[in-house]
Subunit: 371 residues, 2 copies
């Protein structure tokens, strides 16, 4: 295994419930705390394991909600206390990643940070490492750098990043400037992007010097930036940390880092991208989870759950079993069945995106007990 990168620190924002994966994913057991691939580890742990060879021992920070502190520490027994950055409530990605940057830059002014979601699935780790190493070299030159996934199909489920001019950077032969960001396309557009090869999936990975990232936030969102510095100043004092969060955090503007940092930086020719050639999925819904677990065989029934007792007669799709009940499927195609102790979901791959609506409806109808 290659050695870790000296001046690199990994940041894992572990927020977001994953409403489209309800009732598997819950407020108290969000997506990143589940093993969705049968790896035997949670997505969070897989993310950690993927990053540790790059960042080195003890050089990963996790930004998560206070409610998940115990679960996160349980999953990551090696994490230093000062690297568990707790939010009192979700304030979107600029606040989460920006706070980590502000805290880490006080410890190491030259530090390069890389932010990677806690709940994505990545296969072929050495290709991931290769992309990150190139991104770090690019960041070292002062760019904010993202990793865009080379599409494996014309997906309409992801946003895209368009590459423009190539950059010449030692140790980053694939580095290019980002021309623009594109929202989720329709199928025809996605097909054109797929054929073009200069469009990459936006996987929300950002690698940058912490000071460069903070400068960009300062320019676009000065108030937010000031709040982050104030919080960071209090951070390493255990007594001051909690009260500072309580006071400042709820006032921070909610804005995705894509809008506060990435798009403005791209407009200035300041955002670079490294294409990622590894398998990547954000496991956005059960259709995606089914695909991920069916090993590419279309008529398969994927089964998730250690004690699953499934009897299938000509069924395909996915069963997630969190109970010991016998689950019998007869003649249902592309079905999604999620069986948990207090809630059951039945839908199809086609309608998997609409599961978020169920969560909204459960809130509205006073059945929040199962969220």
């Amino acid at each position: 295994m290659a050695t870790a990168i000296d001046d690199f620190y990994a940041v894992i924002p572990a927020g977001g419930i994953g409403s489209r994966l309800w009732p598997l994913s819950r407020a108290d057991a969000p997506k990143f705390l589940h093993d969705l691939t049968g790896s035997g580890h949670t997505l969070l742990r897989d993310t950690w394991n993927r990053l540790e060879p790059l960042a080195g021992e003890g050089r990963i920070a996790v930004v998560t909600g206070r409610a998940h502190r115990a679960a996160v520490e349980n999953e990551l027994p090696g994490i230093p206390d000062m690297n568990v950055i707790l939010e009192s409530e979700p304030r979107d990605s600029t606040a989460a990643i920006g706070l980590a940057a502000a805290i880490l830059v006080r410890r190491e002014p030259e530090v390069i940070i890389g932010s990677f979601a806690a709940d994505h699935v990545i296969r072929v780790p050495h290709l991931f490492e290769w992309a990150v190493r190139q991104a770090v070299e690019t960041a070292r030159k002062g760019y904010i750098c993202t990793i865009g996934i080379q599409p494996s199909e014309p997906s309409v489920g992801f946003g895209y990043i368009r590459k423009s001019g190539e950059l010449v950077i030692d140790g980053a032969p694939e580095a290019a400037l980002v021309g623009s960001f594109v929202e989720k396309p329709d199928l025809d557009t996605a097909k054109a992007y797929f054929a073009d090869r200069s469009y990459l999936w936006n996987a929300g990975m950002f690698i940058s010097r912490a000071d460069v990232l903070l400068a960009e936030i300062a320019e676009q969102e000065p108030e937010l930036h000031a709040s982050l510095l104030e919080l960071a100043a209090a951070w390493d004092d255990r007594e001051a940390r909690g009260p500072a969060v309580d006071r400042i955090w709820p006032t921070i503007k909610k804005i995705a880092i894509d809008y506060s940092v990435a798009e403005p930086a791209a407009a200035k020719g300041h955002l670079a991208v490294i294409p990622g050639h590894f398998d990547w999925d954000d496991v956005g819904d059960f259709a995606s989870l089914a695909k991920l677990n069916s090993h590419g065989r279309k008529n398969d029934l994927a089964i998730l759950g250690e004690n699953a007792r499934v009897l299938s007669d000509a069924a395909s799709g996915i069963v997630v079993s969190q109970t010991s009940r016998v689950i019998s499927l007869v003649g249902v195609r592309d079905i999604v069945v999620v069986d948990t102790p207090d809630a059951l979901l039945v839908t199809t791959s086609e309608h998997a995106q609409r599961v978020k609506g169920v969560v909204d409806a459960l809130k509205l109808t006073g059945r929040g007990d199962v969220l």
Copy 2:
């Protein structure tokens, strides 16, 4: 309400698990012990309530498995002990109905018995009563009489009875001879039968003098007949009853009364039929249960279960809920979801008949605990 018929005794064979209704219907909670119509009563109780005005108080016998004795007595608190006829194991309908006939004829040599399954659904009770009263008048003339249901659609799910010559019987203006029995037809044949109007659904209802029925069994199945007489002789002696059943019952030939009695009687011009104009269903599978509970609205989602917590987004079909779990259905059409504490079934109306295969597979794979 009209008065009961003096010399009439109703017999309710309450056997059969209803495998196509698994996991709702179980070995220890067979179909007849469920409320499948939202009436607030089990099918057995509904059957009893329908027959009591015809037979009179205390004049209904139930033939059931020993395992169901407590449940049956609990459902039918008024039933005299001597009218609960317990089988040590299922030996098919000739044995069940024949034993009831043999027991009752010893009490009342002239008795007319009518046998009606415990797990059918009948609506419009006064039309049912009218059919039974005609059948009793016909039986009084020495015929074995069945009630055939006037089809409401060209069903391929039922066997048919073809009427032949009309009979002239006082009090039974619709009585006719049975020409023949026909097995479940294909759709084209069913359509022809439906147009023809002389084909009726075979609902397995038989009304006859007990001695006439026994004479027919004696002619076709003399050994079986001898066993029934021996059992009946021991019946009203509480001490002798159990041992006699233990010894004789397991040796009795398993044969449906359709083959031992109805078809031979029809061949001799000895079987009559009264058309039934009431709504009838044998609730043979979940597709039928869905139809029964959707009030004829095709795109409805029928929901069975007192404490059902169902959230449906553009779903149709049926949900049976025996747990307090939230059940969420998204975009599934003609779906069948049966949610019980230890087993879950997901199928579609189209495949509902195949549920019996699940039960067989569960037996074969050692998961009989959920049967």
